[in-house]
């Protein structure tokens, strides 16, 4: 069972984590970590922090493409489906209107566009964040409540535990510890 969950969740990583007092200090620390040449580190906070993406050197999320593709597929499908059912598969004269009555098809096209765009946006979050995960290891239960942390994973180039620990203490982290899985 445990192996199955492990397989579902994907590989864990080890590394070193340090804690910061508030979001401003964490933002400052992230900037310094990025400037220090780290590229795989991440911050953990109970809420999104304004400016953190820039501080970590992250590019814009590609998520809007999920929305766009979902919307485009929904729009095209709804248009095709209404044309096919009304004008091709079972043509019926209703109130003398044309079989392909485009203006009357607009509301359903709109609704299906929004529906698929919205569902794809949510699916995009799951895909890009590799969620859901079953009971993944956490570094501290208070990180979703009031604590702020920054971790450097072992995948960072030139990583040694000692170096990462001394770097974190150099940028003002407290309660620095190493973890074996996250």
């Amino acid at each position: 069972m445990k192996k199955l969950i492990q397989k579902f969740n994907g590989p864990n990583q080890s590394g070193v984590v340090g804690f910061f007092e508030d979001e401003d200090k964490l933002l400052e620390a992230a900037k310094k970590t990025y400037e220090g040449g780290h590229r795989h580190f991440d911050t953990i906070s109970p809420f999104p922090i304004h400016g953190m993406d820039d501080a970590m050197g992250l590019k814009r999320s590609i998520l809007p493409w999920f929305t766009f593709v979902g919307g485009a597929v929904g729009c095209a499908f709804a248009l095709w489906f209404q044309w096919w059912t009304s004008a091709v598969d079972y043509p019926l004269n209703i109130g003398g209107k044309p079989l392909f009555s485009l203006p009357a098809f607009v509301p359903v096209i709109f609704e299906v566009t929004v529906l698929l765009a919205g569902l794809c946006s949510f699916a995009g979050v799951l895909v890009l964040c590799k969620l859901p995960r079953i009971n993944p290891p956490i570094l501290d239960p208070d990180l979703t409540s009031h604590k702020f942390a920054l971790y450097i994973p072992s995948s960072e180039s030139g990583y040694t535990e000692e170096k990462a620990k001394s770097f974190l203490s150099g940028i003002g982290a407290s309660d620095i510890r190493s973890f074996s899985e996250f």
Partner: protein, 450 residues
């Protein structure tokens, strides 16, 4: 310089916020909650009985007949869908407009939206008379041709609009809640809570690489919900406006219905917030009088828009010179349903004018009473539109009077049982304030603030 109002009172820190928002789900319910929950549940049981009778025995139990074929079911459907609109307006439109005060109320308002739309969805199904064939509303391959649904019909547009609205509102609500459910999971002391909140949180851990995509998706959903919410009540209004009946066949209907929906929805939010502030005293710091005052201003504004629509309809009825149109409007105000019309006008146009006075805008008892009146008025607005136009159309030989039966009242009152049962369960098991959204706002208006 203009000073910002404090959004979260009580000089709280992040830990205290988690503590106060999570605690209602972690401790046994108080007497107040039970005192609401038992009557709500009884009302729900009553609702099931009434619905069972109507579905089992037949539509004849309700007042609809010739010529008034649309009665309480349609009126109450429009009423509940309209209520839902405030939640999306608060969560999506105010988000796009960067109105930070929305963070105190958006979660509850979105929950209200979903439960209101769920309540609404039942009525058209009951109204069909044979709800066990409800799936006929969907375009699915069948052995009758296949005979597809008529995509030119506003009633079919409604099927798509309402189901899309419910789905997208739910996704928006749930996605906004994932980080907060993770908070509940990490605070969980026993394994049952871990088992419930663990899967619901999807394994969220709050890393910035995740927040980045999450925030982007949230913005996308807000952008999608904004035109969606405007489309839903527009399409509901097409149910009426596309028909040729005097009093229905007007181009003002879509904006008029949307304004009315926001009006009634905000009134419902204020009513619920007054009750929440009584039941959960810690919520007074999150839903402050300033929040309520702002909402009351919106209620007054949309109330005047609705009043303008009433006046405009009358003017156009006269200005068009169409005798049927003129008759319908004079008949609305002075005919057999004059009482419904004047309940509508006084509740929707006159009473909200009291909000011009700051003392009334900021008085809880006053706003509680006025917002309930608003919702009574808005139910009667839909009653007036539906019934008065149908009961006297073009041919006097086709005229008749619609009377409400016990079952009409039963479904109306009973649907509140369903709504309040769901809403109270929500308060009990899910965080009622969006913690991950309100935490960044605690500095707003404070001396140490930005």
């Amino acid at each position: 310089m203009m000073k910002r109002n404090i959004l979260v009172e009580g000089n709280k820190d992040y830990k205290q916020i988690s503590e106060e928002i999570c605690s209602p789900t972690e401790v046994p319910p108080g007497k107040g909650w039970v005192a609401y929950f038992i009557p709500a549940n009884l009302l729900l049981v009553f609702y099931f009985c009434v619905l069972g009778a109507i579905i089992g025995i037949g539509m004849g139990l309700m007042g609809v007949n010739h010529p008034v074929g649309w009665g309480t079911d349609i009126v109450t459907f429009v009423f509940w869908v309209g209520i839902g609109h405030a939640g999306t307006l608060i969560s999506a439109i105010l988000f796009l407009f960067r109105q930070k005060w929305r963070t105190g109320i958006n979660r509850t308002a979105e929950a209200m939206t979903i439960f209101a739309v769920m309540c609404a969805g039942i009525f058209p199904l009951v109204h069909t008379g044979r709800p066990w064939f409800a799936y006929w509303l969907l375009p699915y391959p069948n052995q009758r041709g296949p005979l597809w649904v008529n995509f030119r019909s506003p009633l079919e547009w409604d099927v798509f609009a309402v189901s899309t609205y419910l789905t997208i509102s739910f996704v928006f609500w749930y996605m906004g809640m994932v980080p907060d459910i993770a908070t509940l999971r990490d605070r969980a002391k026993n394994s049952i809570r871990k088992l419930i909140y663990g899967p619901l949180s999807l394994g969220w851990r709050g890393t910035n690489r995740h927040w980045q995509h999450y925030e982007s998706a949230y913005l996308m959903l807000a952008g999608l919900s904004t035109p969606l919410v405007l489309s839903v009540h527009s399409i509901v209004s097409f149910d009426f406006a596309v028909a040729n009946l005097p009093g229905w066949h007007t181009t003002i209907f879509p904006p008029y219905f949307v304004a009315g929906a926001v009006f009634s929805g905000f009134a419902m939010v204020v009513t619920l917030m007054c009750l929440i502030r009584i039941g959960y005293p810690q919520m007074k710091d999150y839903v402050t009088i300033n929040h309520l005052e702002t909402m009351n201003k919106v209620i007054m504004t949309t109330g005047m828009m609705v009043g303008y629509a009433y006046a405009s309809e009358f003017f156009i009825a006269w200005y068009s010179g169409v005798e049927y149109e003129t008759f319908t409007f004079i008949n609305r105000a002075f005919g057999p349903y004059w009482w419904a019309y004047w309940i509508m006008v006084s509740c929707n146009v006159i009473f909200p004018q009291l909000f011009w006075f700051k003392a009334i805008r900021r008085s809880l008892p006053a706003m509680f009473v006025i917002t309930i009146f608003v919702n009574i008025g808005m139910w009667f607005e839909r009653y007036v539109i539906t019934v008065t136009s149908l009961h006297a159309d073009f041919l006097p030989s086709n005229w008749g009077i619609f009377t409400l039966t016990f079952y009409d009242f039963g479904v109306l009152v009973g649907s509140f049982g369903m709504f309040f049962t769901l809403f109270l369960l929500f308060l009990r098991v899910l965080p009622m304030v969006a913690m991950s959204e309100i935490k960044p706002m605690i500095h707003v208006g404070r001396k140490d603030g930005h």
